[in-house]
């Protein structure tokens, strides 16, 4: 059993190793609006490089959502965002389980790999910024 534990620990340690590389850091400007049906929202995200401000086009973008107050309990299945007409913009439709504050995880893959988390408050008929957590 000790050998097995040592092997698993070594596997975990190897899994954690890896040299740091200068990756592109993405910035996301996210806008969502009600899509006409309850809990359905149309969103557009504009992605750019944080350092150069260049739009990030040609990426595979998926967007998932999670409620910070119930982390892991209400995960929305990630949807694929389609590239919009403006360079670096992506559009997607989000179907939520309930109104409230949601943390949208914007996952980028392809030439650039990154994840940007944006917090929004989804209410009936409107979407706004999520205020910081309450005491």
């Amino acid at each position: 059993m000790r050998r097995m534990a040592a092997a698993l620990f070594a596997m975990a340690a190897i899994g954690m190793a890896g040299a740091a590389e200068a990756q592109v850091r993405a910035r996301a400007e996210l806008r969502c609006e009600p899509a006409g049906e309850v809990l359905l929202y149309d969103c557009t995200v504009a992605l750019s490089d944080r350092r150069t401000n260049e739009p990030l086009a040609g990426l595979a973008v998926t967007v998932g959502a999670d409620m910070p107050s119930m982390a892991g309990a209400h995960s929305v299945r990630p949807v694929t965002a389609a590239e919009g007409p403006v360079k670096g913009t992506y559009r997607f439709r989000l179907e939520l389980e309930m109104h409230g504050d949601w943390a949208l995880q914007i996952n980028l893959s392809g030439a650039t790999r990154d994840r940007v988390v944006e917090l929004l408050r989804f209410e009936d008929g409107r979407v706004g910024e999520a205020p910081p957590s309450r005491r």
Binding site: L8, A13, G15, P68, S75, D101, R135
Partner: protein, 301 residues
């Protein structure tokens, strides 16, 4: 593998750490509503270690475990005399105190011209280790389960050791265990420390998986769920809390028709099981029965 499936499996793995943390305390007979506090401390400590100090992930997770354990021991010592409801309330109060402290905690460093680090109630973003080190989602998933396997092997060892027996003796009857020569206080502090370390590792993994944490994540909901996983899955084996996590996140999460009603169903399952199987599905009797069956099957083959 599907992104959502990887996400759900990662969540199951990470939540299992905090569920096992609550289970360890349940073994000693204590019901803690505050394990989310050590999960939070581990998340912030490990996040700060990689994002702000540039530590490797292994060291950062170790820092999360040590911070969680240290905080748990600090809470464990003054609450030694408390039992039952009083202990539960004390742990809940501590967890809320930690959550509010993180709402006030600001420690930012400028990296690439942008402030990075905990920013009070606005949370802690850009814990980007897995992206900066090209660790993909499947690799991170394997890491979570490798660490979870190490922890489970640790539990197998613990169950067979004198310490594990002492934990269960204390859980059955603390006074009687003391009369039998078990160092009750020392074992309870040890259990609290180990439980804090487990939750701390889980928190560190969570921060690196999501790249973002905020105080709201660590509210009482997480603590109640962690406790409920052991009570649903069973207290007879460390696989019990894992079964609880699988039922909640694996089964209920995957049935999309239950979306929005999941918490009601989960609460109902907890209530029913507490009445019909107070020590969960895999309770001591079930584990013993499975063991007997297994040995009989091995003899026959």
């Amino acid at each position: 593998m599907d992104d959502h499936l990887i996400g759900v499996l990662s969540n199951i793995g990470i939540v299992s750490f905090v569920a096992l943390s609550a289970y360890l305390l349940l073994l000693t007979g204590e019901i803690s509503f505050g394990q989310q506090a050590f999960f939070a401390i581990g998340a912030y400590a490990a996040g700060i270690a990689t994002a702000l100090w540039g530590w490797p992930l292994a060291l950062a997770l170790a820092a999360g475990a040590v911070s969680g354990a240290a905080a748990a021991v600090l809470v464990g010592i003054p609450t030694l005399r408390l039992h039952g409801l009083y202990f539960s309330i004390a742990t809940l109060a501590f967890a809320e105190m930690v959550r509010i402290l993180f709402e006030l905690f600001r420690y930012q460093v400028e990296i690439d011209g942008e402030p990075v680090g905990p920013d009070g109630a606005a949370g802690f973003r850009n814990i980007r280790y897995i992206f900066d080190h090209n660790i993909d989602a499947v690799q991170f998933l394997l890491l979570i389960y490798a660490l979870l396997a190490v922890v489970l092997l640790g539990f197998v060892w613990l169950e067979r050791s004198r310490t594990g027996v002492a934990f269960r003796m204390i859980g059955e009857d603390e006074t009687l265990a003391g009369l039998q020569g078990v160092a009750v206080a020392r074992h309870k502090v040890l259990a609290a420390g180990l439980a804090g370390a487990l939750a701390g590792v889980g928190g560190g993994l969570y921060a690196h998986l999501t790249t973002y944490v905020e105080p709201r994540i660590f509210d009482v909901m997480l603590g109640v769920h962690s406790l409920a996983y052991g009570l649903i899955g069973g207290l007879g084996t460390a696989l019990g809390p894992l079964l609880g996590v699988l039922i909640d996140i694996g089964l209920l999460e995957s049935i999309r028709a239950l979306a929005g009603y999941r918490m009601i169903i989960f609460g109902g399952i907890v209530a029913v099981l507490l009445i019909v199987r107070p020590r969960g599905l895999l309770d001591e009797r079930a584990v013993h029965g499975i063991g007997v069956l297994w040995r009989r099957m091995r003899r026959q083959t």
